[in-house]
């Protein structure tokens, strides 16, 4: 079962890696990965679309990012709008790098997501469903992994849903093989990817050979599928441990200048890792940036922290994807669990606001450079095109080329639609 550990002709893995390292001196590693991916999928490059979700934990202030209200005396806040590469669309002055890429992106400015609690908002924005106690709905990343992952080929060694900087929402009834693979920090090694305490590759190989024998012994006792499933998961894991594709997790291959451009922080480097993973063939990558729950001193906090990080990471990501010709196949989405109140509270912060806020998306064949829907001068009422969470997810599904009529049966035998109602936003398609 674990024959992958032993390369042909008795070459040990370390020896093999030595060959690989020599090869990668000649070919930049990113190209190597891309070449490998291309071979795994189709001669034309990737055979299915990918999505990078930029998740703003805590509830990002749309009023201070994508939908500024400079005309509003009471709610406007401290930031000024600037023009972008999309005619007529203005965004926050602290997002100049993103502004250059706005022609690729769209702002949906009239989302009513109805959930103002962190946990419930997080759940509904990830799944399109409100939480109920008896069923756990799959997050959209898991749906993408389930629907599209197999298109990269059965041998593809990485998980198809990877979440960076936070664990992400799970796969629910779609099963753990579509749950997000959690990367705690993009600049540290993946947890447990290598044995602890100096267990050499050769010794691990010996252990795996022994494990194969013990597992086969139990598997052939005719006690049921679980015994074989266990073995299959270990096989997949060993395949990943030994795969050169894990280089996609190693940012050292990238040029220093590009790493600087993404921003030397966990969000920026996470965005860079997301690009590498998508390049390698991964279907869905979530990159989290927390710290948006700004009940106090919102302008000071955003100006000095989140906005520069977001700007570098997101702006460089879209630019990088576009330059590499990957943006046509990669959906980029910016969202959080809700927006923040138009009203500025007594502590100089804004509170939770699901009633009319903004998400941003572009790429993967969507038209770009548009603003959809709007709120009034003070940002309080939606005056044009109220959108639901289901509309947002339907648009994402459409961009990913997942059939909106797709329906699953839950373990309880109930029908489940990947999007419960909702229509793709027609201007984007």
């Amino acid at each position: 079962m674990f024959e992958r550990l032993h390369t042909p002709a008795g070459m040990t893995r370390r020896h093999f890696m030595g060959h690989l390292a020599a090869t990668s001196l000649a070919v930049p590693a990113s190209q190597l990965i891309y070449a490998l991916q291309a071979r795994a999928a189709s001669p034309l490059g990737r055979s299915h679309k990918a999505c990078i979700l930029l998740w703003m934990g805590g509830g990002p202030s749309h009023m201070d990012t994508w939908d500024l209200k400079p005309e509003s005396e009471k709610n406007g806040g401290e930031f000024r709008p600037i023009a972008t590469s999309a005619p007529g669309i203005e965004i926050c002055e602290h997002l100049p790098t993103v502004a250059k890429q706005m022609k690729h992106l769209n702002v949906l400015r009239s989302l009513n997501s109805r959930e103002g609690n962190h946990d419930r908002g997080t759940y509904v924005m990830h799944t399109g469903y409100t939480p109920t106690p008896t069923i756990v709905h799959p997050s959209f990343g898991s749906v993408c992994s389930y629907e599209l992952g197999h298109k990269a080929g059965e041998d593809f060694p990485l998980p198809h849903f990877i979440s960076i900087n936070g664990p992400g929402e799970g796969a629910g009834f779609l099963g753990m093989s579509h749950a997000p693979f959690y990367v705690q920090s993009p600049t540290s090694p993946i947890s447990n990817l290598r044995p602890q305490g100096g267990i050499a590759e050769l010794r691990l190989g010996r252990r795996l050979a022994m494990l194969g024998a013990v597992e086969d012994n139990f598997r052939t006792q005719n006690r049921g599928q679980a015994a074989a499933d266990h073995k299959a998961v270990y096989q997949k894991t060993v395949k990943m441990m030994n795969s050169q594709y894990t280089r996609a997790f190693m940012l050292d291959d990238e040029a220093k200048e590009l790493r600087d451009a993404y921003g030397r922080n966990s969000f920026g480097q996470g965005c860079l890792m997301a690009r590498r993973l998508v390049e390698a063939g991964v279907t869905f990558v979530e990159v989290q940036l927390g710290g948006w729950d700004n009940h106090n001193d919102i302008f000071e906090t955003l100006r000095n922290g989140n906005l520069p990080q977001l700007d570098q990471g997101m702006g460089t990501l879209v630019e990088d994807l576009s330059r590499r010709g990957m943006l046509d196949n990669t959906l980029v989405v910016w969202m959080g669990e809700f927006g923040r109140t138009p009203r500025i509270n007594q502590n100089g912060g804004r509170d939770h606001w699901p009633n009319g806020w903004s998400v941003v998306m572009g790429g993967a064949g969507l038209k770009g450079g548009q603003a959809i829907g709007s709120t009034d001068k003070d940002g309080v009422e939606i005056v044009d095109r109220e959108l639901s969470v289901q509309d947002v997810i339907a648009t994402m599904a459409k961009a990913m080329e997942i059939d909106l009529a797709t329906q699953y049966t839950t373990p309880n035998g109930r029908p489940f639609k990947i999007v419960d109602g909702g229509k793709p936003v027609p201007e984007l398609i």
Partner: protein
């Protein structure tokens, strides 16, 4: 050396089922003096109880008869009896939440001549302190799940409260009533945390969870529409919901000596109300409904009743068959790996039970025992369904619902963690002893291995991070290190002291006993001994062997 003997198939066949039946005279005495009615094999709308509290397996007569009848009808034959070692591991995992240690295993396996040994084992486990702890863990997960709770909710206090209830053998109807009606501080009264965990959204979650946990019925979809495949209406959901209308929570604040106001948990209380539940129908008409039980009974919606108390009365009163049936099915599912109604909490016309008469009769007896949880466990663990091997036969490998073979049950994260600790004593190694590190390991396991949907599923839902953690994680590294304090270190010491038994053989046997709760077969012993022949690094090979056994499918699957 451990005197270990395997209970072979022959022994199992000889002992057979007879050993499980207590003498007929005693059984008769029970029936005559305590229940008064003989076992009826005919199904009636409301069967008479066959026994009262605490007694053991004359129940087997009817449980096994009903199982037999279903097998005959379907033309399947049950698998043979499992081995003693398999039974031991099963019972430890299900009742104590961990595998047995080597001493416990040797003790049980050396006693293979006692025909009452399995029954005695169950009694010993029910009296073990880990029993209540395990039940507390199992039911905390049933009540509030494993997802991280909001800050307000004190999950630990709930687990401790449940543990105390199971330790003092509180009847299930009383435990349920308290969970449904608990008031006060969530730190003082752990039961309060059940309601608190489901407060959101006008108690929609509390409504759905309470009918699911205590009645085994999933009403949650009727929150928004009438049930598509049975008689439940949207009004039924909101009728139950109206019972929770007056239930409130508020932070408890205490003032410290410094004058600072400090938050000290949450209080749940009931406020008088004459509110009805309001809900929006699909046609946008707003419906209203007073507190109404599922059978249509309403309470006088006056201000002087505590509505939750009334709901708890409806749910737990003896006339409510479904309350007992729901718990019997849940416990059957926990022990046997699948409910007679499957999933365990989805009763309804759309989902009939596999053995309706058996389920009804067990429910009647459970009620007659005064909802005695241990009695129910005794009955189920004494039945054939709990003793069949997980090895399928040609005759039964297509059967999923009739309990003709035991399913492979993947360990829960808590079982896995406690079992690894039991097998390896990793927590006794240097640096492993700190409570903080142990907590950290457990958290890692719960996070990595959690799957809310796994429930009673016998599918193995493993993931790459789980396998990585088992193969390369810190706990595993400590576990097989052979550091002082660990089980492996102990085995090495003992192996050197053996007389008349090669040290390698002693060590191999003990590693199998510690991890798989059975001695190695002759073939396994040969295979393992061969590993030492080709490698002079004895400690290294033992480490590799222990690592292999702990990572194997046989370790993580309760068989």
């Amino acid at each position: 050396m451990p005197r270990v003997r395997r209970a072979g198939w022959l022994a199992a066949a000889v002992c057979g089922w007879a050993v499980w039946l207590i003498p007929a005279s005693i059984a008769r005495a029970y029936q005559e003096t305590e229940a008064g009615a003989p076992v009826s094999s005919e199904r009636t709308a409301s069967p008479a109880p066959t026994v009262s509290a605490g007694s053991v397996p004359q129940h087997l007569d009817y449980i096994n008869e009903k199982l037999d009848a279903a097998w005959n009808e379907a033309g399947v034959k049950p698998s043979p009896d499992c081995t003693d070692a398999e039974f031991l591991r099963r019972a430890y995992l299900d009742l104590l939440g961990r595998i047995p240690n080597v001493k416990e295993t040797n003790g049980f396996l050396s006693n293979s001549k006692d025909p009452g040994r399995r029954q005695k084992l169950i009694e010993n486990l029910l009296a073990h302190p880990d029993y209540a702890k395990n039940m507390g863990t199992v039911f905390t997960n049933v009540l509030v799940g494993r997802r991280p709770q909001a800050q307000n909710v004190d999950r630990e206090a709930l687990a401790t409260w449940l543990r105390t209830q199971f330790a003092s053998e509180r009847p299930w109807n009383e435990i349920s009533r308290e969970l449904l009606t608990a008031t006060g501080s969530n730190k003082q009264n752990g039961a309060v945390n059940y309601a608190l965990a489901h407060f959101a959204d006008e108690k929609v979650n509390l409504t759905a969870s309470s009918t699911r946990v205590f009645m085994g019925q999933q009403l949650q979809c009727t929150q928004c529409h009438d049930h598509p495949s049975n008689d439940w209406k949207q009004q039924d959901f909101w009728g139950i919901n109206a019972f929770f209308r007056g239930t409130r929570s508020r932070p408890i604040e205490t003032i410290e000596a410094s004058g600072a106001v400090v938050r000290d948990g949450m209080e749940v209380y009931d406020e008088p109300t004459d509110d009805w539940a309001r809900f929006e129908k699909r046609n946008a008409v707003v419906g209203v409904v007073p507190p109404t039980y599922l059978d249509g009974r309403r309470i006088d919606a006056g201000m002087d009743v505590v509505r939750r108390v009334e709901l708890a009365r409806f749910m737990t009163e003896p006339e409510n068959d479904q309350f007992a049936r729901a718990f019997v099915n849940r416990m059957w599912g926990h022990l046997v790996g699948r409910g007679m109604v499957h999933p365990v909490d989805d009763f309804g016309d759309h989902n009939p039970p596999s053995h309706p008469e058996l389920l009804d009769q067990l429910a009647v007896d459970f009620r007659a025992s005064n909802y005695n949880v241990k009695a129910l466990i005794r009955w189920i663990t004494a039945s054939k369904a709990y003793h069949v091997s997980s090895r399928m036969t040609k005759s039964n490998d297509q059967d999923e619902a009739l309990f003709s073979h035991y399913p492979l049950k993947p360990m829960t994260p808590e079982q896995l963690f406690d079992s690894l600790i039991t097998a390896t004593a990793a927590h006794r190694t240097e640096g492993g002893g700190s409570e903080k590190l142990r907590e950290q390991w457990l958290r890692q396991f719960v996070v990595a291995f959690n799957n809310d949907e796994a429930g009673e599923s016998s599918n193995f839902q493993g993931t790459i991070p789980q396998a990585l953690m088992m193969m390369n994680g810190e706990l595993m590294s400590k576990a097989v290190s052979g550091e002082p304090g660990s089980f492996l270190a102990y085995v090495l010491d003992q192996a050197r002291l053996q007389r008349g038994m090669p040290p390698v053989r002693y060590a191999v046997e003990n590693l199998y006993l510690a991890s798989l709760s059975r001695p190695p077969t002759a073939a396994e012993l040969r295979w393992a001994s061969g590993l030492f022949d080709s490698n002079p690094d004895t400690l290294g090979v033992l480490q590799d062997l222990f690592w292999t056994l702990l990572n194997s499918n046989e370790f993580i699957l309760n068989k």
